[in-house]
């Protein structure tokens, strides 16, 4: 890789360093806080180890299947241009941010014993579908994660300079050759990171695993942590289990970063690729078939959420709208925070990578840690740390925004770091040779290449934060609620139809926020 002589300035140390310190505090710091606060000591039982095994197996299966489906989907989206393409890309953000309970009911509306498919096959005398068990857990996780993986790969495809495709066309390359020379190297760079993200996401899920897993066989580490804190008040075991999640994360993270080979594409002029090679009918047919199937799989459950919620949506009590406002504010703040932290960390990592590759690799893994962190441990740990000094209610908003930002950091970092590396490689040198410094250098050379990924990751962070129900439960003051909290309160008061209305509102607002940020990143920049 070509390196410029950009120095590490104090600002990189201060901003990047404090972002890292914050991450470590939220992840390892909270575990230590729990450990220190523990009143009983205990060790892991055989049942705990069975739980750990189940957690890993289902996460591996979910990640592999999601990626295997996402690659052809992303390729279809990348090489086809059709009406509704943008719409599909935007709506694809939706499953990812659904609160577990909404997603489960949506998935069951399609795949359940009284779901659409069961009703359909009943006409042919076939018994109701029974997805409960390992299959159900993986199905739900694949539903959640295909969109994320697809978006990451679409980004990957658009990172291949269009000039490469033109050259390939001039050389008369077949689709097969393009795959070998352009697409496969890109996949090798993107796939390991995407795999890691999904694997980690599936590790810390537990409401889904429980509801569709059919019973305690399908217990994940996260439930064991929940049990340790809520049921046994065994903070020692909770922190042990949390450490195991971190160790898993670090191990898998290290392997994927070693496997991933960075892309070495030359610099291009930022234009949309035209794919002459893929005009053949057979490619057309495969692409559109895949897209149709994936869209059905993703959008049918969403449609059921829409059908269920559309009528109650118009009669929701006013408290819901206040909760919606709170959620939007928290989401916007945490999106901003998440992006700032990612940019600071990326700039820091890139500069360190030039001197010490190992250090920067370790830092990259640290960026993933929050994904492996249990929201319960973070919430409880922060509570233990702050409670002696300040009322939890007073810091509900900043804490929620902060933790949500940290939780979405692995995604933003995954999107922003490669984009910034490319920008530094391609335009950084140019900027240096023009004698550009600090702010101007960032504004003219780097920022135009970061806008899209920043918009995308801000959208993702905002949407994730909208759906989150982690720390807010511990810190929320009596008069403050967020939409997911509101939805749970409605459900536990038998208000199932109002809850469906809130679920629809939640999905709509999240998708809207995602769309606004994502579009913001697409505003034309001045370098053409």
């Amino acid at each position: 890789m070509a390196h410029s002589s950009q120095p590490i300035r104090p600002i990189h140390f201060i901003l990047g360093g404090s972002a890292f310190a914050l991450l470590l505090l939220l992840t390892l710091g909270t575990v230590i806080a729990l450990w220190w606060r523990a009143e009983i000591t205990s060790s892991l039982t055989p049942a705990d180890w069975a739980t750990i095994r189940f957690t890993i197996t289902q996460a591996l299966a979910s990640a592999i299947i999601s990626i295997a489906i996402a690659i052809p989907t992303a390729r279809a989206l990348a090489r086809r241009n059709f009406r509704g393409r943008k719409f599909i890309l935007t709506l694809m953000g939706a499953p990812f941010i659904l609160p577990a309970i909404v997603a489960v009911l949506g998935i069951l509306a399609v795949w359940g014993r009284s779901g659409y498919i069961s009703e359909l096959i009943a006409n042919f005398g076939l018994g109701p579908l029974n997805i409960y068990g390992f299959g159900g857990v993986v199905l739900a996780h694949v539903f959640f994660n295909i969109p994320l993986a697809t978006r990451l790969f679409v980004q990957g495809w658009s990172a291949i300079p269009v000039e490469h495709f033109r050259l390939a066309a001039q050389l008369g390359m077949e689709t097969r050759d393009i795959t070998r020379h352009l697409e496969r190297p890109m996949l090798r760079a993107v796939a390991p990171g995407a795999f890691l993200l999904i694997f980690l996401l599936c590790i810390s899920s537990f409401a889904v695993a429980l509801a569709l897993g059919g019973g305690p066989k399908a217990t994940t580490i996260e439930l064991a942590i929940y049990q340790a804190i809520r049921f046994d008040f065994d903070l020692t075991k909770a922190s042990q289990l949390a450490m195991i999640q971190f160790a898993l994360c670090a191990a898998i993270g290290a392997v994927t970063i070693l496997i991933a080979t960075p892309m070495h594409f030359a610099q291009g002029l930022d234009r949309k690729a035209e794919r002459w090679d893929a005009r053949e009918t057979r490619y057309r047919v495969t692409d559109y078939t895949i897209l149709t199937l994936v869209c059905l799989f993703l959008f049918l459950p969403l449609a059921s959420i829409l059908l269920r919620g559309i009528i109650p949506l118009f009669t929701l009590p006013s408290a819901v709208w206040w909760a919606a406002l709170n959620s939007v504010i928290v989401a916007t703040l945490s999106a901003g925070l998440s992006v700032c932290m990612s940019i600071a960390m990326s700039a820091f990592i890139i500069r360190i990578a030039r001197k010490r590759k190992t250090v920067s690799n370790v830092m990259e893994v640290v960026g993933f840690l929050t994904l492996a962190a249990s929201p319960f441990v973070i919430g409880t740990g922060l509570f233990v740390m702050t409670f002696p000094f300040i009322s939890p209610f007073a810091i509900a908003l900043p804490i929620t925004a902060l933790v949500n930002a940290a939780m979405s950091l692995p995604f933003s970092l995954r999107v922003i770091l490669p984009a910034m590396t490319r920008a530094e490689d391609h335009y950084g040198r140019l900027a240096d040779s023009l004698g550009m410094q600090t702010w101007d250098r960032f504004r003219f050379a780097i920022w135009p290449r970061l806008k899209r990924p920043v918009g995308f990751s801000a959208g993702l962070a905002a949407a994730l934060s909208m759906g989150d129900l982690g720390v807010i439960t511990l810190f929320a003051p009596p008069d403050m609620a967020t939409l997911p909290l509101m939805m749970y309160r409605l459900m536990s008061s038998y208000q199932l139809s109002d809850a469906a209305g809130v679920a629809l509102l939640l999905v709509t607002l999240s998708v809207a926020l995602f769309w606004i940020f994502d579009q913001g990143g697409r505003l034309e920049h001045n370098v053409r």
Partner: protein, 334 residues
């Protein structure tokens, strides 16, 4: 950047709205989320108590029922809470052992709770029976015991909650334990093929049931009352089991470290008065601990009355819980 900071500061202030509104003494009551929601008893209770107490009642939703005790253990004596409302009898001994709670002397002479109440610290405010709820338009002959449920055909499915994360889930565990004792593992093994799935909380399970995923769901005998009274829907019934039904008694207690001991006592007095008790049936959908003088709301008379009220004494609940959980895990993990 400065603009952003100003904005952030403004927003933070906007959130801290009703902080120091008045000089009235403030009573902080920690409870579970569904109690404080607009559809729960919270708003009416707050209004009724503030009319008589010259104080500001602050009801704080601290997560679900199981989270309450954890929250108190984490906060310890520094807690802002004066009263905790929403623990149940499975937790009272452990709660008392923390030493955080103070005795309450003014217990009413008679309580309409179907068990002798002798606890000196905690006072019940409502109670209910766990039961399986079904749709009586789809299911004509509901099982009338655990054994009848086991004998149902294998495509008959129930949804239950995980005892580690849900109060009804734990209730079912103790129900089987109390009704069957040594035979409990056998009952669980028989039930296993009927269990469609186990959810994290009551809401998921009840939602799956109303969506038609399962034939019966673990809930309360009083659940049909919600559908009858609030929705005028007669289609939901609770199955009456011959073994009797396990009870949940929900209690409140005063914290030893409270800075408002008199107000806290006044709140507990108020809790068993008819002003509070008449709110409970149609908001918390449970039986009040002291029946209002004009009786229960119309619709409650349609509910089943269990032949036998089962409950494991509070001092044995903890031990029974650990044993029953181990049996449950073994039976369902096969």
């Amino acid at each position: 950047m400065t603009k952003f900071i100003t904005l952030a500061a403004g927003l933070t202030l906007a959130f801290a709205t009703t902080a120091h509104a008045q000089d009235k003494p403030e009573l902080t009551v920690y409870t579970y989320d569904s109690f404080v929601s607009d559809w729960g008893p919270g708003p009416s209770v707050e209004k009724a108590f503030e009319e008589i107490c010259e104080c500001d009642l602050k009801l704080v939703g601290a997560g679900d029922g199981a989270a309450l005790l954890t929250r108190m253990q984490l906060e310890g004596a520094r807690s802002e809470a004066d009263v905790v409302l929403g623990l149940d009898t499975n937790l009272t001994v452990r709660a008392a052992a923390t030493g955080l709670f103070a005795p309450y002397a003014n217990r009413p002479a008679t309580l309409d709770v179907p068990t002798d109440w002798t606890d000196e610290t905690f006072l019940p405010y409502d109670w209910g029976y766990f039961a399986f709820v079904y749709d009586n338009t789809k299911l004509k002959n509901a099982p009338d015991s655990f054994e009848a449920l086991i004998a149902m055909p294998n495509d008959f499915k129930i949804v239950i909650q995980d005892p580690r994360s849900s109060t009804p889930g734990l209730g079912l565990l103790l129900w089987v334990e109390e009704a069957y004792g040594e035979r409990a593992p056998e009952i669980w093994a028989g039930l296993a093929p009927k269990i469609l799935t186990v959810t994290k909380g009551w809401s998921e399970a009840y939602g799956m049931f109303t969506d038609g995923e399962a034939d019966m769901v673990l809930s309360y005998t009083t659940s049909p009352a919600y559908h009858i009274i609030a929705e005028e829907d007669q289609s939901k019934s609770a199955a009456s089991f011959k073994e009797g039904h396990y009870m949940q008694i929900e209690v409140a207690g005063k914290l030893a470290a409270t800075d408002q001991p008199e107000l806290a006592d006044a709140f507990l007095d108020f809790m068993t008065s008819s002003a509070f008790q008449s709110i409970i049936p149609t908001t918390n959908w449970m039986y009040p601990a002291v029946f209002p003088t004009d009786g229960l709301p119309a619709g409650f008379e349609q509910l089943i009355t269990p032949v036998d009220s089962l409950i494991i004494p509070a001092d044995k609940a903890e031990q029974a819980r650990d044993k029953a959980l181990a049996e449950w895990l073994t039976a369902l993990s096969r």
